[in-house]
Amino acid sequence: MTLVLRMIAQRLALGLLTLFVVSLIIFGATELLPGDFAEAVLGQAATPETVAAIRRELGLDQPFYIRYVDWLWGAVQFDFGSSLAQRGRPVADMILGRLGNTLFLALYAAAMAVPLALMLGILAALWRNSLFDRVTNSSALSAISFPEFFVAYILIYILAQGGWFPSMARMPASADLGEKLYRSFLPALTLTLVVTAHMMRMTRAAIINLLSSPYIEMARLKGMRPSRVIVHHALPNAIAPIVNVVAINLAYLITGVVVVEVVFVYPGLGQLMVDSVSRRDIPVVQAVALIFAAAYVLLNLTADVISTLSNPRLMYRK
C-alpha cells in the first residue's frame, strides 16, 4: 500500500509540474492572439490615447513576465484575477457555477456511458462474431461517426418534439436533483452516445486480445464456463487498457463538450471558454484552460493508480 501512496505522491508532484508548464504555454498562447482587449472593447472609438489609457488601467502595458508572475501568484491562491469584459467581476465567481454544471453533466453522462460500455464490451467479447456483436459494433460506430450536433438534433427531433424531454437545459435556480436530471437528460444522452463506442470497443478488443493466452486456454481446459473465462480470467488482465480509455473519455466529457452545450443552451465551462476567447477576456480563458489541464492530470493519475492496483506483478514484489 505504501507503494501506491508513494506513487500517488510522486504523480501529484509531477502533475503540479505539468500544470506549471501548461500555465506557461497558456499564457504564452494568449499573448500570441491577434488584437488586444483594449482595441476590441473600444471598437470604432479606439484612438491611441484611449487604448493606452485602458491598457495602463488594466496593467496590460507591463512586460510579459511581470504579468505572468502576478497571475501565477494569484492562481496558486485560487485568485484568477477579474474579468476584463465584465468589469471587475472576479473570474473565480464566473467559473464556479459553470464548473459545477459541467461536472454535473459529465458525471451524469459517465454514470450512463461507463457501465453501458463495459457491459456491451464484455458481452461482445463473449459472443464475438455473433449477430449481437455485429449489431453492437456497427451501432456504436455509427453513433461515434455522426457529428455531435447531429446526434443532438436527432434526439431533439425524436424525444423533445415528442414532448418527453425539454430541449433547453437551462436550470431554474431552485431545481432539485430530479428536476436537474430530467432537464439535462438530452445533453447527457447525446454525450453517452458519443463516448460509449470508444470505451466499448476498447473493452472488447482488450479482452479478445487475451483470449489466445495460454492461461485462458488453461481456464477452458479446466472446464470453466465461457462467461467465467471472460469475466474472471480475461477481464482482470485487461483492466489497464480499459481504464486508460475510460479516463480519456471522462476528460473529454469535462473539456470537449462545447458543441453539445451550445445546442442545448447548457451553461457549462465550454461555452464560457469560447465566449471569453472571442471577447479577448484573457483571465477567464487562462483560468478555464488551467482547470481543463488539471482535469486531464487528475483523471490520468486515477487511471494509473487503478492500473497499478489491478496488476499483482506491480503490487507484490517477488
Binding site: 489466445s212 493466452s213 495460454p214 492461461y215 486456454e217 488453461m218 481456464a219 477452458r220 481446459l221 479446466k222 472446464g223 470453466m224 464456463r225 467465467r228 480470467h233 482482470p236 488482465n237 489491478s310 496488476n311 499483482p312 506483478r313 507484490y316 514484489r317 517477488k318
Partner: protein
Amino acid sequence: MSDKDILLDIKGLKIEGKAGDDWLPIVNGIDLTLRKGEVLGLIGESGAGKSTIGLGAMGFARDGCRISGGQILFDGIDLRKASADKLRRLRGKRIAYVAQSAAASFNPAHKLMDQYCEAPVRHGVMSRAEAEHDAVELYRKMQLPNPEEIGFRYPHQVSGGQLQRAMTAMAMSCRPDLIIFDEPTTALDVTTQIEVLAAIRDIVEQFGTAAIYITHDLAVVAQMADRIKILLRGDEIEEADTRTMLAQPKHDYTKSLWAVRSFQRETQAAPEGQPVVSVRGVSAAYGPVRVLDDVSFDIYARRTVAVVGESGSGKSTAARVITGLLPPIEGEVLFEGKSLPADYRQRTRDQLRHAQMIYQMADTALNPKLTIRKLIGRPAQMYLGLRGKALTERIRELLHLIEMEPDDFIDRLPSELSGGQKQRIGIARALAAEPRFIICDEVTSALDQIVAEGILRLLDRLQGELDLAYMFITHDLATVRAIADDVVVMQQGRVVEQGTKAEMFAPPHHPYTELLLSSVPEMDPDWLTHLLEKRSKQGMPAPGAI
C-alpha cells in the same frame, strides 16, 4: 487386460488446421488406447502433432483447428458427439491438462490457491475449505517449499520449477482419471527438471492416474512412460512398450532419433599462439545486482569453448560483455592480445567485425521484412565495402558455405524458411563479416534434435575451413559433448570449473558440475529411479529442497 480397463480409446483421429482458406491435415488417422493407470509417451519433433493429439484426447481443438474425423471414446463417452456443456463438465474434473509453460498458463491476476480451488469448487467436487486443505497436502506431496504458504502467492512470485509442480498439483485437484502432460519440463533447467519429473512420477503412481506424456526428449519419456508411441508429421511410426522400444527400435525414423546423440567432433590439437579472445577478471552488474563475478577464460582459433550453466548463471551476460553491449564494472576483454574498449560504441569497425553473434531464436533475430540477399548482404557491404556484382558473388558463396542453393533461396523472406534454414541464414550473416570469433548463444536449443545436429556439423566444418574461434553458450550437456574443446562451467555469475572437455567429463568433478552431469536424463528407463536412490544415499538434497 480386459476391455473394461480401457479408459481412452481413440480410433482414426483426424485433425485439420486452417491455412488461409484451406484446411490442411495435422493428424492423419491416429489410433490410441490407454488403460486405467497407464502412462503413454507421445514422442515426435515439432510439427508431429503431439500436442494436437493430446488436446484432441480432451475433445478440444485450438482456434484454427478442427477435429475432422475418427472417434474419441473416454470411459465410454463419445467426446466428438458430446455437447459443449458435457465436455466442459469432463474437463478439469475427469481429464486434466498440464501445459508446457506453467509461467504462461497460470493467470497472472490470481493467486495459486484461487486457481487451484477453481476446478474442484466449480465442478462441485468439494467445498472451498476442503479444496484449500487438499491443496496444501498435494503441495507437500509435490515437495514444494512452504506448502502451507505457497498457495497464497501470485504466479510471478514463484520460480518456474515450482510453478510446474503447482500446476501438476492443480491438475490433480479433482483426482482425474487422465492427465495430459504437454512437455511439462521442456522449459526447465536440467537440475530442476529432475525434481519435477520425480514429483510427477510419484503422484501419478500414487493416485493410479492414467497419463499421456508428450515430449520430444526420448530420455525423459523413458523415465515416465509404460509405452511409447512415435509420431512423424501426424502419422504414427511405431508403438511398443518402453523397454522394447529402447532396445529394439524397428523403424528407420526411430533409429535415426536414437542415433542423433552420436555426433562428436574430432579431438583438436592443443592450442597454440595467443588466444583470439581473452576475458580477464570480468565483473558486471545490472544496476545494483552483480551478475558476473571475476570471470576469466581464453578462446583460441580453431577451438570451441562451451560456456555451460543454468538460467541465471551469467553465461549470456558474459557474451554481452565481450560484444560490448554491457560494459563491465571490473576487468577487461582482450582481442588478439589488445584490450577492447568496454563499450561497443567506442570500438572500431574492424573490432566490431571480428566478433559476431548467432542467436537462439532465428525467428526473431532475422528482420522478417528483408530478403536473404539483404540479410546476408548488409554486413558484407558495411564491413567489407562490397558492392554490386562482387556483393552478389559473395552472398552466393556464403549460401554455398551453409549448404543452401543460392538460386532457390537468395530472394526469399525468412517466413518462407524452416527453423533449421533460418538458423543457417543466421550463421551466414555472422560469416559475412569475415570474423575471427563467433558467439553462438543457445543456437540449437530451439531446434529439433535431427536439425540441431545438422547445424552442429555445419558449425564444426566451418570452423575447420575458416579458422574460427567459437564461444558456445548452452545449457545442454549433450551439445557440449558434441562440439566443445574446452568447457567453462558457470554458477551464479562465477566460473566454478574450467578445463578441456576430457577433463570435464572425467571425474573428479566440482560438486556443481557433478550435479549438472548427473542430472542429464539417460536413455535407461531405470535412470531416474537409480539416480534418486543414489542421491538419497549420499545425502544429497531431495528434489524440491534445492
